[in-house]
């Protein structure tokens, strides 16, 4: 299909790789291709890749029912260097438009480095003008914002990384 290429192929490949890895039960997968390097691990004791290279955290980071950051791995790969091992990934409960602030022009609910208590509203997901607040499952410090304000996010897509108290 010639029109297949119109949709982010590298992202799809990465997504498929993560899904297959999650299903396979393999403990660690290390891929290197040119200057791209990826380490997937189910074991929190696995050392991270050295230097500032992009590292995608495996399922260990996500306590939610969604096993892998499937929807927007590109954003994950860019931001993940700042996500420490063991960080909690907060994900979207359903598809919708991701808003970081309660209304246009207002300050974001939370910034990187900001603290949240359990149950704090941290963003909105809008579906056809219906806005639903997403709450932090655990208390801690936000260490990364993994989705773009105003963009469509899918169910299970990583929104924030948080280091629990």
């Amino acid at each position: 299909m010639t029109h297949k290429s119109s949709i982010d192929q590298p992202v799809d490949q990465l997504r498929i790789l993560i899904e297959e890895f999650t299903r396979s039960g393999i403990a660690t997968l290390h891929v290197r291709s040119g200057d791209f390097e990826l380490l997937l691990s189910n074991d929190s004791g696995t050392p991270s890749l050295a230097s500032g290279r992009p590292v995608a955290n495996g399922p260990v980071a996500a306590p939610a029912t969604i096993p892998a950051p499937a929807a927007a791995p590109a954003a994950v790969v860019q931001a993940v260097s700042a996500v420490p091992d063991g960080a909690v990934i907060l994900t979207a409960p359903n598809l919708g438009t991701f808003y970081r602030a309660p209304k246009p022009g207002a300050a974001a609910y939370v910034e990187i480095g900001g603290r949240v208590a359990q149950g704090d509203e941290i963003c909105l997901i809008e579906v056809m003008k219906l806005f639903t607040g997403v709450r932090a499952e655990v208390a801690g410090t936000i260490v990364a914002v993994l989705a773009e304000d105003g963009a469509m996010v899918e169910a299970g897509q990583p929104l924030f990384a948080l280091v629990a108290d």
């Binding site: 299909m1 029109h3 297949k4 119109s6 949709i7 899904e19 029912t65 969604i66 499937a70 929807a71 409960p93 359903n94 598809l95 919708g96 438009t97 579906v127 056809m128 219906l130 469509m152 899918e154 169910a155 299970g156 897509q157």
Partner: protein, 455 residues
């Protein structure tokens, strides 16, 4: 404007079928999935898939706002609802229209009026389509006897407020009708607080026949012949055939004309099916309802017409007229479809979700399989149990049954229970070969015989 990017708001084999039809027309595809269907065949084949929500259909496939939001956010200009889920909910085409998306189906008003049984019957009556003979209200036992004599026996006396068989009596003669009135009336008052009764002719042995329609939304409607879907269990179709070999030619022509007249009277747009009851003893047919969507069993009509109905749906949704005239629709041979379900027929058709460990489908001339399954595929427990449709086509019904028999024998599936074995039993039964079946045949004859053997 032909569609450029299509949103597929369904799952399973029909999602895959729609993606393939779109690709054949160079339309890009975005498939909506729930969390349980991320790895589905349709999601893998499509240009893109988006995860709507969790596995529960109410929070994914059945949420019209979520579906249309996703279609708009992914830049789709068309939306195909498939069958089931939201396909006959008028809110879906309404939301599509409000967001500049072409809905692959009829107008919302048409969906609504056809979905209302009373309105649909009134529309059928106005279009000259035969309904089950009956009478809307009966006031007394004497009234019941007089009306029943006019309708012809046996008759069914039913509570207007009824349901679940309460306030329902079958009468075989005038005395039965009078006595039945008293009993049904008392039951109806007790059960529903409303003794209003109506009466209609009872058809003890009927076939389910239906006509495949396609309309351009401007009054032009063509048909692709009829299907016979009489092998049913609890009103669920298991086997569908085209044509209905038991119907004489003069009735067939009347059936097609009735269905087309009804659809044309509402300027029906896109694919639809008019369903009828075929009274075997009286050789008459009566209107049941219109299904305002593509149906599971559409492939048998495609096989005898050599025409892709789903591609036609997409062209019409893109603004084109019908690509055929009625006299260009040529029907030939006989087609039979078996719905293969992941169910254990030995355990009262208990669903059998799980992983398919071996999958070897039949192939060959005149054999078609519409399925989203493959080796290693997972059947999640959240949705219906259909794993595919096996369709065969041959010159005659006899040859089609032989071909189906061979194809079913070749169909190897391991890891889950399936209805393949039951289908082999059905088509091997002398009643099926001789075409002596009706809508209660499977339960009253074949499954009863099976239980007799087991007991």
């Amino acid at each position: 404007m032909a569609l450029k990017r299509l949103f597929v708001a369904n799952r399973g084999e029909i999602a895959l079928r729609i993606v393939r039809a779109a690709q054949a027309l160079n339309i890009e595809t975005v498939v909506a999935v729930s969390d349980a269907d991320r790895d589905s065949a349709a999601a893998r084949l499509a240009d893109r898939s988006v995860v709507l929500g969790p596995a529960q259909a109410a929070r994914s496939y059945l949420d019209p706002r979520l579906v249309v939001h996703a279609a708009k956010a992914t830049g789709c200009d068309g939306l195909h609802p498939g069958y089931g889920f939201l396909s006959e909910r008028a809110i879906l085409p309404r939301l599509c229209a409000a967001n500049g998306i072409a809905f692959v189906g009829p107008e919302p008003e048409v969906i609504e009026s056809l979905g209302d049984k009373i309105q649909a019957r009134a529309m059928a009556r106005a279009a000259g389509v035969p309904l089950v003979p009956g009478c809307d209200s009966i006031a007394s036992a004497a009234d019941a006897r007089r009306e029943a004599d006019k309708i012809g026996y046996p008759v069914l006396i039913k509570a207007a407020a009824g349901g679940g068989g309460r306030g329902m009596v079958i009468a075989h003669n005038g005395d039965g009708a009078a006595a039945g009135f008293d009993r049904a009336s008392a039951e109806a008052v007790a059960a529903f607080g409303d003794g209003t009764l109506f009466m209609e002719r009872f058809v003890p042995q009927a076939r389910h026949v239906e006509v495949q329609l396609m309309g351009d939304g401007r009054g032009q409607v063509i048909h692709f012949g009829e299907r016979d879907c009489s092998v049913q269990r609890r009103y669920q179709k298991l086997i569908e055939e085209a044509p209905c070999a038991a119907m004489p030619e003069h009735l067939r022509a009347q059936l097609h004309a009735s269905a087309v007249a009804l659809a044309a009277s509402v300027q029906y747009r896109n694919a639809g099916t008019a369903e009828f009851l075929f009274d075997i003893a009286r050789q008459e047919f009566y209107f049941i309802e219109v299904n305002a969507r593509i149906q599971v069993e559409h492939p048998v009509s495609e096989m005898i017409s050599g025409f892709d109905l789903v591609q036609e749906q997409l062209r019409i949704a893109g603004g084109a007229g019908l690509s055929l005239r009625q006299d260009q629709v040529r029907l030939s041979g006989h087609a039979i479809e078996c719905r293969i379900n992941a169910e254990d027929t030995a355990r009262d058709f208990l669903p059998s979700p799980g992983r398919i460990t071996y999958w070897s489908p039949p192939q060959g001339e005149g054999v078609r399989l519409d399925s989203h399954m493959s080796e290693g595929a997972m059947i999640p427990p959240y949705y219906d149990s259909m794993i595919g449709k096996l369709i065969v086509h041959a010159d005659t019904r006899e040859a089609a049954i032989d071909r189906l028999d061979a194809a079913l024998a070749d169909f190897q599936v391991e890891g889950i229970a399936t209805t393949i074995g039951l289908h082999r039993e059905i088509i091997a039964h002398p009643d099926f070969r001789a075409n002596r079946i009706h809508t209660r045949w499977l339960e009253q004859v074949l499954l009863a015989e099976r239980e007799g053997v087991a007991a």
